[in-house]
Symmetry: C2
Subunit: 344 residues, 2 copies
Amino acid sequence: MADTSRAPRRRYGTRPTMKDVAARAGVGLKTVSRVVNGEPGVTDDTVRRVRDAIDALGFRRNDSARVLRKGRTASIGLVLEDLADPFYGPLSRAVEETARAHGALLIHGSSAEDPERERELVLALCARRVDGLIVVPASDDHRYLEPEIAAGVATVFVDRPPGRIEADVVLSDSFTGAREGVAHLIAHGHRRIGFIGDLPRIHTATERLRGYRAAMAAAGLETDEGWVSLGSTDPGRVRAAARSMLAGPAPVTALFTANNRVTVTVVRELGGRTRPVALVGFDDFELADLLDPAVTVIAQDAARLGRTAADRLFRRLDGVNTAPGTTRLPTRLIARGSGELPPA
Amino acid sequence: MADTSRAPRRRYGTRPTMKDVAARAGVGLKTVSRVVNGEPGVTDDTVRRVRDAIDALGFRRNDSARVLRKGRTASIGLVLEDLADPFYGPLSRAVEETARAHGALLIHGSSAEDPERERELVLALCARRVDGLIVVPASDDHRYLEPEIAAGVATVFVDRPPGRIEADVVLSDSFTGAREGVAHLIAHGHRRIGFIGDLPRIHTATERLRGYRAAMAAAGLETDEGWVSLGSTDPGRVRAAARSMLAGPAPVTALFTANNRVTVTVVRELGGRTRPVALVGFDDFELADLLDPAVTVIAQDAARLGRTAADRLFRRLDGVNTAPGTTRLPTRLIARGSGELPPA
DNA sequence: CTGAAAGCGCTTACAG
DNA sequence: CTGAAAGCGCTTACAG
């Protein structure tokens, strides 16, 4: 492809540099640097001359060069599952606000729940020399990050723990939340309760399943294996799972759904039925209170997850060097109606 | 703040460089560069020696240095209003996918609808020398971007046009969409229709208001000024506006809400009322079909907005140099019930 | 108060 | 097939 064929191709060489500013202002390079960075020790008159040259030339400092020299990039990377998932909106926003307060930019990417894609993205961010990383893991083996962490890339995992390395983690207490949600259904008279969750390799999915089993066991209830379904959040898969649990001679009378994507699909599936089925979902979601019945949920605070992870990261970047630790944030049961329906 | 007080402070000098790899492999710097970049003309044996050295040292190329030399950063900036707004989730995701297909990373920031914050963010991205920018404007004056665009930063505005500069823009057809939505209410017998919109300085707000007025005028209907309310999407403000239009001796019988934030708040306000009020909202939103009544909307395709803007940007980056243009994407009326209610 | 020199870690342009 | 030199645009460490 001939590059010469098209019109004025952008060229970075086109941009004025500090050297150009210095020449025009009739001062040394270092003086321009002082003015640009607001360092003291420059006469008012010199400052003015430099400023005039900057304006005349339309100079803007090239931070790529600055970064190379200074070591720090003042940017952090955020890798999560899917930018479009409403759960990650408030989380991202909270990370962004914290980064902003620290003067850092945010580089963002989605792993799409693909371990290889997570790895590529994370390593690309390391090559850009982000100061730190916040990662919602898709992979279950993060040993590939060891050299990066050793080289100084501060790393905090959020929503799920990393695999096979020690690092800071910020989680919601999925086990306790799920156990309480299922116990709530049991308290309302249910004995046959289904569990529909996410892929079994996702930590939150197995933790929530563990919570389900713990609640059932604590109440002395048997769990039929047909009542448990783990898999992708694809609506077809989830609807089939729900239909199967609700069919047959001894159908479940209540469902526990392990994340917001699953809950929304199950709400749609239940909408077409006459016999009421009780439902408690993990994760709150917009308009849950306006559905009929309104949906009882185990809410986690996505913004707080993000804020806590970012605070941890920037504390590390400020030089705090304690051992890596896990923070587990509490969940909250919000009873709205669907979880208080009696068994049919 | 003494820097010496804390434990092993990360130092970039710590990282191995190409020079270190070259020394260890017993080759020249340029040979390492060739291997790292997969350039041809290196013996298999030399490649192996270099690879071994890379692995032994845990070398990862510093892209900051590369960027400085090459000019291109292989990153683009995306500035929007609020990362946590569900409308921008699919848009961001679409931009990300396109960027990924072109090997570029995404630097993301929210303007929070603050013109000054937009400007700071955009200029910070320019200083990082992003190759291009996709911006949902909060400001109504983008002349500050002129020197950057002249210096070669490809720029595409999305969702709203820029102020006082010529540039590529990708929009939904807000005027036509709103006009059709209001005409739909009129077709179902309504004569007194309220309009609740966003801040008047936001282009989409005024375009949608224009659509409302056009539909009313086309039907020969008077518009009482008490039926129009523009302002922030703060729920208190929106609820008060709705209450006021629904009070008095000649209340409105239908409402047109000009974006998803406003619609959701109005749905809550109407939920507490006995007399049915018809509603059409601009923007589709999750679960709109499951509410009672299900909400009729003018849907825009947020993912397509993002994809179109990103395609345009990368075409520019590939050297296409046509005049800046505006793309207007169609909207789609989805009738679900709330917009088909007859006047009370 | 001011500036010349060296260097951050790569790639480019060239020579062998 | 391989490498030494120069340079990208800044900041650092120093000297005056």
